[in-house]
Subunit: 485 residues, 4 copies
């Protein structure tokens, strides 16, 4: 009999996790394992069919006890006991031939985690697609001022800015999708840690479960943390990008900067300050991303204290917490998408900031180099004097004269044209720059990256469907084979 | 004039970092950028050649000042000033046409970090190869007991165990090598954040620098953290595996367990306890891995507080600290290799533990299922009674009789043969199991993984050599072109 | 109207948190604030009484809507609206005079967190008391071998070992209890961030709520993270000690070492390995401690990205997650107590290890220094030779002779007495050593530390009771005052 | 002979650390230990004196070898060997009676770390004093706008803001100073882990070393991490506050917000953007704080993987890295002080923001409640309409009329007076508010907190001086005692 404290603190919560999250996947593992045991002649067909039929019967007329029954370690033993009640303990136990809870459990956890990660990845893709659409769609050419070190630096466009954000997130998504590959591997047949003397077909069991490959080394299969830590790290990295983006949006949305407007639907008021309009959605995005980062870090750090053995760090408590936290991550991405979809660049304000803070003088300096026959340092100095003067053309001319030793060869109208914020963007046609020619290259790269992720996710979904059908056919064959007896 | 505190705390250390780590890469960037400025007609050939010659002259007769000169921000301005002294400020400044410190610096940092990561990856590969050799080489078949949840679980071999460790590390190495891809990208042409109105060839500049591609979006090029955080996370994950392995080795090497012996060359004594022989190399492996993990985490966490803009988190202070910490990581891997190369499995002790703690009764239970016509649960129960009795055959027979209702159909000799530790391994022939047949599959997968990493590293090295030659040729052409004048 | 995404992802979960965790504390804040508004003449008594009566009525006949009503930001607005429905919006709003949600909310969160931390601290105290009892109680003198660098180092006792563990935890508990002081402060009257022009009594409001003091600076009151981060860090540190202890117990409980036996009630079996008896409670202790550490770290790290302003990091989402995670921490401590209460030192095994690995030769060396007239290095060398020989007395004598140049002046019986493990303990009477004389000092210090924590917790409980009574009296007076009208 | 890899990666760096950081403290430990060995009659006076004289001689004529000599574990063995060369190995070894490297080393590390923490704490105190001076000194009354959720919320003053920052940091400093108490304890006499059979006086040895107390339990003395982790956590928390403050300053210093001006001495330019004036000191403050946080976290996390035993995590590699990183922390605080000392609030801009964004309408609403006989919700609504109108008085009057059903009883001049930013501050006289009356309370609390830390640090310094004198006297007595022979 287990200690009541142990039941309350360990076995009970474990049983609850299994009921809530893993019972269906465990069933699939039973089906695939039993199918193969019979296919390989390890368990006789009649025994196999009798077990299979009992399992099918249980699906319709058995309910898991509310809480863990006394003296039982876990949900699997409840299952095996019930199976034993129906067809005899001896027969029931054949299901567990050439299998341990070690390989069974990690495979079940991998199935559940894989599904949750697939769902999350689709949601993340959707959120980035929202940013991509705004970066490529109508209004993407609207002017924005972008910053370096917190100060206005260059004029650019909404599209250029969002395409950068989306590109960094798209890189992260490729990592996240690739990390599912570390989950997508069967450990069946690893048994405790050294496999079995029974002649299983490890690849076949994995394939029936829709898993892409097997973890070959049986000790690694049970001991490795990668199927948890790799997705956790990939997700954590993306969330950190979200936090960074939120801090940048926060500044642009502050009322003194005013480069981004928010609709009322995303703004909260103050209970005491009548004037307040807080786009706190950006804060909540930061917080939810931060909390989900914390969950990822929890997973990551757990393994620092876990010897390279079979440990319960790869068991239900951490796995369930991780799966649950994916919902927080998805929520953060939903807030990101809502923010990006709802915010509106204030182009007039962008022009105002650009001109007031001399943002476009970089271009003026460049034009001096190109067309006024001076080097960059001379041009830079004359423009700095102009910026410091608050935009005084006389000062500009005087300064140029004194530094370059000749007259500035631009008319006032030419200077105005050069300093025009739209012109600043227009000439930045280099690959990846804000002009349409530059954006085309960047957007193409972004689309390719997102399409790669989308294709990979679709392929995963389709492979899953095919495997489900194959398992179902094999299982029905097993049930029917019995029917002929 | 900068504040003395600012010079002491920021500009001075920055200048020192640049002198120590980045001056050579900055030179390469000057060469590649100038070459392309001339190639694209942005800077006239004569000006280009004059700059190039002055740079070459500086290589032989200019030394960086000991500490940062007064009133100067950084090493680049020292360089540009010196260049100006030689060919006139106006001419010198043409070098900085269509360039900002933003794109120049991140490209320089990427070059330096890439090189350091390549070196580290080669060292890591070497360490894993050491484990691979022991896993595949003579003595790899020596018996070990492996553990689950800290208790002896199965008999296996040194090779099986080390192959698992190596396979997990090899997966990590593939990630680490792939992460260099995030570093291996040029940001030249991004200028401040929006590129330039000058008609640069961004791809050509990157290629001359030996970088694999460009970061297309110019805002992303300056703002992204991925070139720092991806390698940091990949490395951190590998180091965590090392920590896990060290904890497992620690247990196996403890004198009561005694499965691993250590040569005197790796053992320290006690200044007070005459009997002590501490294989503290395992502890130092854990500590150095842990300290390097801390450095990776520092990089990772820095960005949580950095808005998605151009920030100094991608500048010399964090980059230099990260580069320096790669040495600690390399040291941890060297200790791992030394440990793995030096330790010797104590096979006699493995047999002793196996028999004393009933480790091989799993196989006895399996044989009962296979050959005694009972289900797994019956077999399991009889064997548990046997294990509890401390290996009393009479108890085994009695227990089997009472549970199965018939006599155990094995002779004492048969039982002994079944329980033999070597037999336990021999029958575990499944893919990835410890028997030679199983190991062959696992070792093949391991070799493929390591070969992939090795090929990728070699390809990187070769591409680097080719680019170096190309840049050298272009640079010489520029110098010579001038010579015709 | 708020965006549906925002309601689903932010406002809805916030409302649910408030209903579940904070509604009662919000009521107390309403009571204390209103009482003081009337006491200071800011709100007229009749208005105050009418509000108070409506609040009392709501307690009996109002239920929070199942989910957040449309167009409402949070639970407070639901409350204020309902109050308005009863006594008119105009009257109802007087309750919010000189108050903001900022100061109200953080005070509510502090009340809830303080209560949860008090509960946790009592549970932690109980767990450490369990260790203290075993360290001081019957059986505490049982011999154990203790380790340095994973190797057997000295003979000691169960009591000495557990007293060390308990002393480190007791230090941690003092920190944890002290950290409640950072929570135990009222922010009422800080309003948004600069206080109010109304003449409140900030100290009085805090006292009525049972809070120990106020956060004086009103900006700090709203912006500080310390009331969250200090307890999180204090708890995280304790949990890390638990993780360290679990790793040490893990080794001592492994069957080859065998220094600690576990009762069946704390041991799990294997579904495949008949011989396995896993005291996995130690692992679950490690995991739960690690998961709770992760939650503490999440809180800690959140603030790295939060400007020093009023931010939602100090609001319901993180606070609720932190409160919930205290349950995980409590569970880890419960497992620790159960482990410590249930484990039994195996004294015979301790003696065996001590003699087999020469653990007590340190004492033999000391005795040589004391009574054989040699220096420590000579003694150490002779004893090392003896240990290496596996305990061969002849070797000892020969070695001593050859190093010291004279005969070892101890008889075989004397040597045996010196090497006796119990003797080793007996002579270690220094303060803090394992002999009863040494233990008395250590246990006294431990008791004082735990008593300090206990007294502080009791004082907190009693102050809370007194404040509750005072608030209740003031509130009733307000209700009654109205009754006279 | 140790393995070359082990020497290069472990023993060599360890030896270098000891030479650089610990040799002097080791000497003090030798002096204190030897003094007490003689005082307690454990070592004869003549032997003691001879050892003491040899040590003194070594101080003048012995130099540590450049690198670790072959076959030696560490600096201590080099020292003991040299001592042996002078007075015979036998005599020399008496110094190590009743001592192990375990207790000796941790005491040495504690001495070195304590000194480094004292230095840091003084520097941190100085930095906070800078903020305190500006918060209390001339110009502290200058108006600032303070923010909630990134939006302008209330008018306040430079003093109020800096006093809040300083108060949070002062709380952190009290923790940091208190944490030195965990370092300030001697472990001498703990020997390996169980103390000694020799009759030492553990308290006396500690006192001679200037340590405040002893770690009583000898196992805890060697195994505890608290002397490293507590200061690391206390410092990490302060640094996180710095990061938060830097983010807030960053926003206030951005040119669109413009509430803080920076002198040229703290501003960097752009090499490409002529208009840029970046107060990047704020960024470097954030980065250096973040990097030092990483070092603290490294220490903290190391112990997660270290069993509760004597481990090398409490040895030179982590301790030295931690000591070195205190310099980075000090640098971050120096940048904070320089920032706070150099920045100037732009009061005109504060007024402008206040009026433009309706920041003072909170006060108008309050005045309506006080003097216009309406409830808070009515007042809030009328003011919100006014704020939305961009400050149109007619709209205010109309809105008040329509909501309250009567005329707003304030003249235009009265409204202007109410809305005046200075008035907003003036009336906020509550404890901790920005008016002088409120500030007096907050500043008094701040001064008390800083004075507590300062007194504690001074007491520590003085105790250190006294102990140094006492040890010197005892040591000289030992040398002289010898002289009488």
């Amino acid at each position: 009999m287990f200690s009541p404290v142990y039941v309350k603190r360990v076995l009970g919560p474990c049983y609850d996790n299994w009921k809530r999250l893993y019972a269906d996947d465990a069933l699939a593992v039973h089906q695939a394992h039993l199918t193969c045991l019979v296919e390989r002649g390890i368990v006789e067909a009649t025994t196999g069919t009798s077990i299979a039929r009992a399992i099918v019967a249980m699906e319709s007329d058995f309910a898991w006890p509310q809480s863990i029954p006394e003296g039982v370690e876990d949900l699997y033993f409840v299952f095996e006991r019930e199976l034993g009640n129906r067809i005899g303990e001896e027969s029931a136990a054949y299901l567990h031939t050439a299998r341990s809870r070690n390989d069974m459990d990690t495979t079940v956890f991998r199935l559940a985690l894989k599904r949750s990660l697939q769902t999350l990845a689709h949601e993340v893709l959707g959120a980035i697609r929202t940013a991509q659409r705004r970066a490529a769609g109508p209004g993407s050419e609207k002017l924005m001022v972008l910053y370096t070190h917190g100060q206005p630096a260059n004029v650019s466009t909404l599209g250029h800015y969002l395409a950068a954000v989306a590109a960094d997130l798209a890189e992260g998504l490729e990592e996240l999708v690739a990390s599912i590959g570390a989950v997508d591997r069967s450990t069946m047949g690893a048994c405790a840690i050294t496999g079995s003397g029974f002649d299983l077909d490890r690849v076949r069991v994995g394939a029936l479960l829709g898993l892409d490959s097997i973890v070959t080394n049986t000790y690694q299969a049970i001991s490795s943390s990668h199927w948890l830590t790799r997705p956790a790290c990939a997700l954590e990295a993306m969330l950190c990008d979200l936090v960074r983006v939120s801090a940048d949006l926060f500044h642009k949305a502050s009322c003194e900067v005013g480069l981004l407007d928010f609709p009322d639907a995303l703004v909260q008021s103050s209970s005491i300050m009548p004037q307040k309009r807080n786009p706190v959605i950006i804060e909540h995005l930061r917080i939810q991303a931060g909390m989900a980062m914390g969950s990822c870090a929890t997973i990551r750090e757990l393994f620092r204290a876990a010897p390279y053995q079979d440990v319960n760090e790869v068991a239900d408590a951490p796995v369930s917490a991780f799966i649950d936290s994916l919902g927080t991550a998805a929520s953060a991405f939903a807030l990101f998408a809502e923010t990006v979809a709802g915010m509106e660049p204030n182009e007039a304000r962008a022009r105002e900031i650009a001109l007031r803070f001399g943002v476009t003088t970089t271009e003026l300096a460049d034009e001096m180099v190109r067309r006024a026959g001076v080097g960059f340092r001379t041009a830079h100095r004359a423009c700095a004097a102009y910026a410091r003067s608050g935009g005084d053309l006389a000062e500009l001319r005087a300064s140029f004269q004194s530094i370059a030793g000749r007259e500035l060869p631009f008319s006032d109208a030419q200077i105005a044209a050069i300093l025009d914020p739209a012109h600043f963007v227009e000439v930045r046609r280099l690959a990846g720059g804000p002009a349409p020619e530059g954006m085309a290259v960047a957007l193409a790269g972004l689309a390719e990256s997102l399409d790669r992720s989308q294709s990979a996710l679709q392929a995963m979904d389709e492979a899953g469907q095919r495997a489900k059908a194959e398992l179902s056919a094999a299982w029905n064959a097993l049930l029917d084979a019995g029917r002929d007896d």
